[in-house]
């Protein structure tokens, strides 16, 4: 706590003109801790102790079929997860806010429960359920199970990832719904003669856009980096491929790790640009002192 006290001194108006050296020192140390691994990893990918500077790892990555396949699978899984998550959550949250407020608490709890069941525990349950397949060989359900773990597009991962993304979606949508007076908007739209569908598409969704974008981006980032569930169930999206290739090509896997950092960064940048405008303006108005 010593650091805290020293730092806070600078924030008092009386000493406002003093340079906040303590704060700057703390931030510099933090920057060092966060930037060194990135810089060191980048150097690791281009530095070959025998041959010196080389971009072989990146060239190899671009030629590698496994990388394209696994990255493609990750992206498709991510998009499917976001689509399913939004299809489930947007109508539910809107109806609960407008018409069924008594269900709000139930929905909240259900969406937050995945937080207390770690992915590894969830996948332990899922793999047990999947192991029933052999017992169901004679029933129509067998086909469903086959489709669930189709190697080219494992639906079971989409379902599990959707469960895992519910906390993100719930939090963003809840925040978005609290920020707009949805009831008045919907009543206005309906009294002007709009149908339910028009109201949903042209009034509700545009007003929730920042919340929808932020929930989707966080879910997408989660799916693209997910390793545990896919690995246990035996599928090979991007991060699992990264680990497999790391067993014989250390440089390539580190290059892939840097690529995944870049993708995360790009996604979040997209989020700030797509969703930031409106929310930022509102936040600035509310907190002029910061």
């Amino acid at each position: 706590m010593a650091g805290l006290t020293a730092v806070s001194r600078t924030a008092v108006p009386r000493t406002a003109r003093k340079r906040p050296y303590g704060s700057i020192l703390v931030l510099l140390l933090a920057a060092l801790y966060f930037l060194v691994p990135v810089a060191a990893s980048l150097w690791f990918t281009v530095d070959d102790p025998a041959k010196g500077l080389t971009f072989g790892a990146y060239a190899k990555g671009l030629r590698d079929d496994g990388m394209a396949t696994s990255l493609g699978l990750s992206v498709r899984l991510g998009l499917a997860t976001v689509a399913l998550g939004l299809a489930l959550m947007v109508p539910t949250m809107v109806v609960v806010t407008l018409r069924l407020p008594r269900l709000r608490r139930v929905v909240e709890v259900l969406c937050m429960v995945p937080l207390i069941v770690p992915p590894i525990a969830l996948v332990a349950g899922v793999s047990t359920v999947l192991s029933w397949e052999d017992d169901l060989r004679t029933t129509p359900l067998w086909g469903t199970f086959q489709a669930l773990h189709d190697k080219s597009f494992p639906l079971v991962l989409v379902l599990v990832y959707t469960v895992m993304s519910l906390p993100f979606l719930y939090r963003s949508l809840d925040g978005g719904l609290r920020a707009v007076d949805l009831k008045t908007l919907v009543e206005a739209s309906r009294s002007l003669g709009a149908t339910r569908r028009t109201t949903l598409c042209r009034v509700v969704v545009p007003n929730l856009r920042p919340a929808i974008v932020s929930g989707s981006v966080l879910s997408l980032a989660m799916v693209l980096g997910e390793f545990t569930v896919a690995n246990v169930l035996g599928f090979e999206p991007f991060s699992v491929w990264m680990v497999h290739v790391g067993e014989y090509e250390a440089q390539l896997s580190v290059a892939a790790a840097m690529l995944s950092l870049l993708i995360t960064w790009g996604l979040l940048l997209l989020l700030t640009n797509l969703a930031g405008g409106r929310t930022r303006a509102r936040a600035d108005r509310r907190k002029p002192t910061v």
Partner: protein, 313 residues
């Protein structure tokens, strides 16, 4: 979970909604067109999805954790053997290791994250704040396998920094408990920074001024005003940090393999069949232990959250 106290009443509410005729107050339409419309069909897909994709695996987990398959006959019967095994020997060590790792990294992340967030406010630069917040967002999402590789490339046996600083001669190894804490902090500290910033924003300048005009020093202000007001948010953050560290598996699995005993890695090993005959459900019992611990830790937070909302809401 924040709901236990109200759960019975809410469960009652669910039951009502699923009946064909919901309470009139819920269904009354304001637009006044046509007959009263039922709204519950809109929420059915969500509840159905949760029942199948979460409820089914979770119930299977809980049920099978207490079931043992007899290797001789193939018949399964109820037993607490799995739970007993999961709490003894190597598995107990793994569970303790996970709890220890999560506790230590949660405490460190809470303290460091708060100090960094406060330093950020102290620097009083809007542009810097924006930059740090977005960087925190990126690093908080940079976990799992990619994080492990970044650390291996930096501090691993042939890592850049290891070679540069000749760390090998000092006996440092990334593939230990310390190494894991170092790696975990990389995504936990940024997560704490974004979590605690709003709470720190809530510490009003007027409170400092009031304290100062009553003759309080900075240390006294933090001891008697700042920290008590922040305490619920800090504990909430610490619980979140613990949960994050406790659940994470990929970073440790890729970095250390099984050299540091952790329950998540043991579950993954058990799921891939590395258990004795007759202990097939051991992974489920271990998973159940994890859920119970996560629940206990989360429960700490509930009464505190309310107090925090009163001051910072």
């Amino acid at each position: 979970m924040a709901v236990t106290s109200q759960a019975p009443a809410r469960d009652g509410a669910t039951a009502t909604e699923e009946q064909p005729q919901p309470a009139p107050s819920v269904t009354r339409r304001r637009a006044g067109r046509g007959a009263p419309r039922r709204h519950w069909p809109a929420v059915v897909p969500f509840f159905a999805f949760m029942a199948v994709c979460f409820g089914l695996p979770a119930c299977t987990l809980a049920y099978n954790a207490f079931t043992v398959i007899d290797p001789a006959t193939g018949a399964s019967h109820y037993s607490i053997d799995n739970v007993r095994h999961s709490l003894t020997g190597a598995y107990a060590t793994g569970l303790a290791g996970s709890v220890k790792l999560s506790l230590l990294s949660a405490v460190l992340a809470t303290v460091l994250g708060t100090v960094i967030a406060q330093a950020l406010l102290g620097a009083r630069s809007g542009a810097l704040r924006k930059a740090v917040v977005s960087a925190s967002g990126v690093f908080a999402n940079f976990s799992g396998a990619p994080l492990a590789f970044a650390f291996i490339a930096t501090l691993g046996t042939t890592g850049t920094v290891t070679r540069l600083l000749h760390l090998k001669s000092t006996g440092f190894s990334l593939y230990t408990f310390t190494g894991l804490v170092l790696a975990y902090l990389y995504f936990m500290v940024p997560l704490m920074v974004v979590t605690i910033l709003p709470a720190l924003d809530g510490i009003r300048a007027q409170w400092r001024e009031a304290a100062a005009s009553c003759g309080a020093t900075k240390a006294q202000f933090w001891r008697h005003v700042g920290l008590p007001v922040l305490m619920p948010s800090l504990l909430g953050g610490a619980v979140l940090m613990f949960g994050t560290a406790f659940a994470s598996h990929a970073t440790a699995a890729v970095m250390t393999g099984s050299s540091v005993p952790l329950i998540t890695i043991q579950i993954a090993n058990a799921l891939s069949g590395n258990v004795l005959v007759g202990q097939e459900n051991l992974a489920l019992a271990m998973s159940l232990n994890m859920v119970v611990i996560a629940l206990l830790v989360m429960a700490v937070q509930i009464p505190l959250q309310r107090r925090s909302n009163r001051w910072l809401g």
